[in-house]
Symmetry: C2
Subunit: 333 residues, 2 copies
DNA sequence: CCCGGGCGTGTAATCGATTTCCTGACTCGC
DNA sequence: GCGAGTCAGGAAATCGATTACACGCCCGGG
């Protein structure tokens, strides 16, 4: 592969001049064209590795995602990648699979590769490397999940408005015994969603007692199904269930069907995260839609601010309610 | 961040010695420990960028995936990433979103970054950069999709056995008018699947006439839905439909439901690609499962063979049929 | 006693770019 | 016609590692 020296030779100039032409500095018309011709003839492309070494900027960002197979995070990762690329950055994605060890593993190699900035939707809260990265001065932005003790801006969605609307929606449909399938302890957003929902229900005089708030052991369908099983076995089973994550909602739906019950006539079901195939379920699922694409874009922008050395605040974007048919209402989309 | 010179100074040796200790060559016990102590005290980690420049190996692979949002490819990308990491390589993932332009864009930046090898599940067949990469000598392996005119091993699944079993399954259930929703022209695997299925059906004396093989304009639900619409409007509508991709199957299911018809009583539905949530649909979908994880691993192994300069053959792994309830049979899982 | 072979380690070249410093030519004004 | 200012472009340092080569030391054999 041709390097800058080959180009310089062919154009009859020094490497400095070639570099200047390619980076849009000084050189004059005549020289400029000779250099560009040589570049074209040799098919020269600057070596990003050498450039990174010299400039101390790799133009690469790292993204460590808690679970890439979860469609919400797939979409998020895709949004981040697109926006990063639009702004001239490559993205190295690491999937932690909800394991702190793998997460730390990824962060370490990313730091070794001298990425310009790091985006993390943390699995668990006890990540040593995360703290180390922050302390080492690597620009860091948290995504979707805050981590106590790590001083970095966090970009995530917030469900107040959507959950308020949901409470009203359920109240209007006469649902009086709501329940929540909460994300496992250690994922802060789960509790927040529970409390916001509880407060919103209270405004309609509807209670959400502790026994109708079940924490799932994991963020997968099986965990959601287990909680739903316990909920339906209650002496007074719920008539509406909110799952704070899309995969747990799927498992919950399985349990309802396995008992020969129906959504929404026997129990209403609402999920957090509006993933594409919710619209293809039967019935189409009502969901609290996070602004996934906007989150990804905001995360990249916030991170690049920090890469440039500027301060950047946390970002909270509102989620919105997408009403479909899983609460008993006719679809609106 | 500490560099090798700092470590050398602190340990009272030369940089060469530090490098040798870290790469497991010669140095003797005493020196060795002093160096390791200095490394630990300074928290030194070698700069992968500098190392890559010097050794001409980045220990990074590139993966350009045709559509990351398609769950089949998400799983595939995840499998590739895990295996690559297990073998000491980082992975830069680029999502082409089924666009040749974006794909070429990605390939170009990956080449600029001097990745050691490139894995591509090509969107379309007319990629100029793909040919350029192959010609430039970058180790290249195709994934899931062959590209005519590009000389590179291809790792993909092959459905003969599964489709043979499927034909028997449908025949046994008395389905006589099968149809296929084929991937758009330009994705070679679509036609192959159609022909294998047709041949398998013929063995049972069942015909698959051209009007019951509809090509979808894209690999998304809407495309599948359009084809299903045409199929159901035929004077003799099919009693079993195979979609050669998971997203098209979803759209097809939508159309069936929209007409008030039922799966499997009115029409059986089978999808290619067994993605996790097929089991959560109602009814759970019978599917031709590609060995996704094995494909990802084989792709990485094949690519690394080529990176080492060895020849590597194409890999064809058999898909298998996962019978659920969408053809009228009781579930087997 | 001296010479040669091994072995541990240091010096310096190298990878491919960017960038600082400097030189030389040209222009312009007095 | 000559000094000052401008500007294009070259030489060389630099980023942080790896590694070829050389050197010095120790040991054993003749």
């Amino acid at each position: 592969m041709a390097n800058i020296k080959d180009v310089a030779e062919r154009a009859g100039v020094s490497v400095a001049t070639v570099s200047r032409v390619l980076n849009g500095r000084s050189p004059v018309a005549g020289t400029r064209e000779r250099v560009l011709a040589a570049v074209a003839e040799l098919g020269y492309r600057p070596d990003a590795v050498a450039r990174a070494l010299r400039t101390a900027r790799t133009r690469t960002l790292g993204l460590v995602i808690s679970d890439l197979r979860n469609p919400f995070f797939t979409e998020l990762a895709d949004a981040v990648e697109q926006e990063a690329r639009r702004l001239g950055y490559s993205l190295i994605i690491g999937n932690a699979g909800e394991s702190t060890r793998q997460q730390d593993d990824h962060i370490r190699t990313l730091l070794d590769r001298r990425i310009d900035g790091l985006l993390v939707s943390s699995a668990g809260t006890g990540s040593a490397m995360l703290r180390e990265a922050a302390d080492a001065g690597t620009p860091l932005v948290l995504l979707d999940r805050t981590v106590p003790g790590v001083a970095a801006p966090c970009v995530r969605a917030e469900g107040r408005a959507a959950l308020t609307e949901l409470a009203a929606h359920l109240a209007a449909l006469g649902r009086r015994r709501p329940a929540v399938i909460v994300a496992p302890a250690g994922t802060p957003v789960g509790d927040e969603r529970l409390e916001l929902f509880r407060a919103a229900l209270a405004a309609h005089g509807i209670a959400l007692p502790p026994e109708r708030a079940g924490a799932s052991p994991d963020l997968r369908p099986e965990g959601g199904r287990q909680v739903m099983r316990r909920l339906l076995d209650l002496p007074e089973p719920p008539d509406a269930v909110l799952a704070t994550d899309n995969l747990m909602a799927l498992g919950a739906l399985d349990e309802v069907r396995a008992r020969g019950l129906r959504v929404p006539s026997d129990v209403a079901l609402v999920a957090f995260d509006d993933v594409a195939w919710f619209a293809h379920l039967d019935p189409p699922l009502t969901a609290v839609a996070q602004p996934t694409r906007a989150l990804g874009e905001a995360a990249v922008h916030t991170l690049l601010e920090r890469v440039e050395g500027r301060e950047a605040p946390s970002v909270l974007l509102p989620a919105r309610l997408v009403k479909r048919r899983s609460c008993g209402e006719p679809a609106t989309d």
